[in-house]
Amino acid sequence: MNRRTWVSAVLLLLVVSVVLAGCGSGNNGNTGENNTGNNTSGAASGNEPAEETSAEADSGDTIKVGVLHSLSGTMAISEVSVQEAELMAIEEINAAGGVLGKQLEPVVEDGASDQPTFAEKARKLLSEDQVATVFGGWTSSSRKAMLPVFEELNGLLWYPVQYEGLEASPNIFYTGATTNQQIVPAVTWLLENKGTKFFLLGSDYVFPRTANQIITAQLGAEGGEVVGEEYTPMGHTDYSTIISKIQQAKPDVIFNTLNGDSNVAFFKQFKDAGITAADIPVLSVSVAEEEIRGIGVDVLEGHYAAWNYYQTTDTPENEEFVASYKAAYGDDRVTADPIEAGYIAVYLWAAAVEAAGTTDVDAVKEAAKGLEFDAPGGKVTIDGDNQHIYKTVRIGEVQADGQFAEVWATPEPVKPDPYLDGYDWAAGLGG
């Protein structure tokens, strides 16, 4: 009996390995064929078919790419639009002939606003679907959940949202702003134009807490003062007490890092308490065009936001981008910073793959260094050291039509500095 099981186990193993080998050789054949196809187009000359994950990813006539955002749950409000922009970019690239002569095939997964789900789906995309790269994530916690998976399997993640910095994973490209491309210049601008007394209000999780740590350090160095700091749980809906505290603290300006639906409750109740944007302006870093529509422009008019891109940003690329986004998803849709960041992530990856001639992760990373792209929000450049991108910082004021009017912008794209090495006051942060 024992012996028979053992024998059958060996037999099974043999069968499995033969099947696997068959599959493997079949794939190699495919890649070889396609590579010759590429050689005629001149893109992939001299490159061996990449091993392992990427071998599978660009086998056949298509290259699989993962798109992993929350399509359900609390974060779906924001992430669905980014996902749509990424799919639009993929379609545009396909229409223009694809990458390395092959069409891109998006594999869409739902992160369901849940960190373990993000990690699990990321693993599925990398090991089961064997995608060449993944575009995805929104909250910092979702990124932190996916990070170990991408590092373990040597995958490639393009993360499209502004975040709290203090991170530079070799397996992640950050196409959203880091702190010195959004928060730090916004604080400086507020100090110069609106006053020195800051009230810090945020949702209770990693981004607002880290951001406020940075702001506090910066204010200490640049002559500002924090008169209050409050955090509310995600999904908090009553701000009456916080507003009382704000009225008591009498700040010149409120720096708002609330995320998601809490913004709606806060701004509605803030206005009802009889405080206008002229009394105490609020500068938000998570309120973009998309959120304005859900909050209602009547309660937001006159308040500020800091981003790298607005729908109103005046570049020829943006005109085209806005037009095609509206054509694809409806005239009433708006574009916003993370939408743009997701869109350019796809183009940057495609350009890097073309330059590398393969979808192999290490080769793509090498080829991406210093890559330039004329994005809707202005020219961006990938910084080879930390895999963030150079971006222009813009402060916008909410107008009656639900759009931002740019009131200030940096003259040049700002070099990303996720660890804030270039700022003396930031020395003690991030420990």
Partner: protein, 301 residues
């Protein structure tokens, strides 16, 4: 002084909101013993009904009438949630009476379905409801103390709703039948009351009141598919603390939680304040497991 006054008012306002979201649940869960996890989604349905009413006014009626959409939105929200409650009761809930744990799972499933339905119809992003201009601004009591009209309006709405419920339950024939069925089903049935019809009507009324809550909440908070999830825990907290089966308990429970929440939040922070409130409730329920006002009834054993 100003701070104390505005904090007392804030406490009252939160209490009124809590009471409004808990009232419907006090009926479906409190009186009928259905652990109704879809209560939050019935609130959401009310909020979206308000949104649709607003859009219809915007599209089909002259702009001068726009401000009055809200007056119509309240009964519309009630009616739509009421009808949904009827359908739910007839298709699902009535098979689950006396099986509270099954009702918990089933209604949780209904909640997820309704959320996804809202996402399909209205899209994942929040929608904006523009509040009528006659509710903008507030009454200035003294410098630094502004009582927003919206919060005053919600307090008023709660009082009116409570009064209507009181009249219905304690002063009408239908209400008397309802109480009879909830307290002793067999006896009521023996005396010729159609318990099926009473069950259906009671559940629908509870749902309808959730719809009114949804309508009122468009004034204060976000309107999106996940709206219900923000309020469901608070609603259960109020009903459980107040004592299952008694409206008076729900009122006292809501006031207590609202006041303490404001107080704690003012002293500490929003997160810690909520924790402290929960600690107090847990401690209190250890001492009095039946809540503030315990109902004496043969059916509850």
């Amino acid at each position: 002084m100003e701070v104390i006054l505005s904090q007392i008012f804030n406490g009252l306002s939160i209490s009124s909101i809590l009471l409004l979201i808990a009232l419907g649940l006090a009926i479906t869960f409190g009186l009928m013993n259905v652990i109704n996890m879809a209560h939050g989604e019935l609130i959401m349905v009310g909020a979206y009904a308000t949104y649709v009413t607003q859009n219809l006014f915007n599209d089909y009626l002259p702009a001068s009438l726009f401000n009055w959409y809200f007056v119509l939105a309240i009964p519309v929200s009630f009616l739509i949630a009421f009808l949904l409650g009827l359908v739910l009761e007839a298709s699902l809930i009535r098979f689950l009476y006396g099986r509270p744990l099954d009702s918990l799972l089933a209604t949780w499933g209904v909640a997820l379905m309704l959320q996804q339905l809202a996402r399909t119809i209205f899209g994942a992003p929040n929608v904006a409801v523009k509040s009528p201009t006659w509710l903008d601004g507030g009454m200035t009591l003294m410098t630094g103390v502004v009582l927003p009209y919206k919060r005053l309006f919600i307090i008023g709405l709660v009082i009116v709703t409570l009064l209507a419920m009181f009249l219905y339950i304690y002063r009408s024939h239908a209400g008397r039948r309802m109480r009879a069925v909830m307290q002793n089903r067999e006896m009521a049935s023996c005396l010729g009351i159609s318990t099926r019809r009473v069950d259906a009507l009671t559940f629908a009324i509870g749902s309808g009141i959730a719809g009114i809550a949804g309508c009122a909440l468009t004034l204060m908070g976000p309107i999106g598919p996940a709206l219900g999830t923000y309020y469901i825990v608070d609603a259960f907290m109020v009903v459980v603390l107040g004592g299952v089966g008694k409206l008076v308990g729900t009122i006292i429970g809501a006031t207590g939680i609202g006041m303490f929440n404001t107080l704690f939040e003012f002293w500490t922070s929003a997160s810690l304040g909520k924790v402290l409130v929960f600690v107090c409730i847990v401690a209190f329920l250890q001492w009095r497991p039946k809540g503030l006002v315990a109902m004496r009834s043969r059916s509850l054993d």
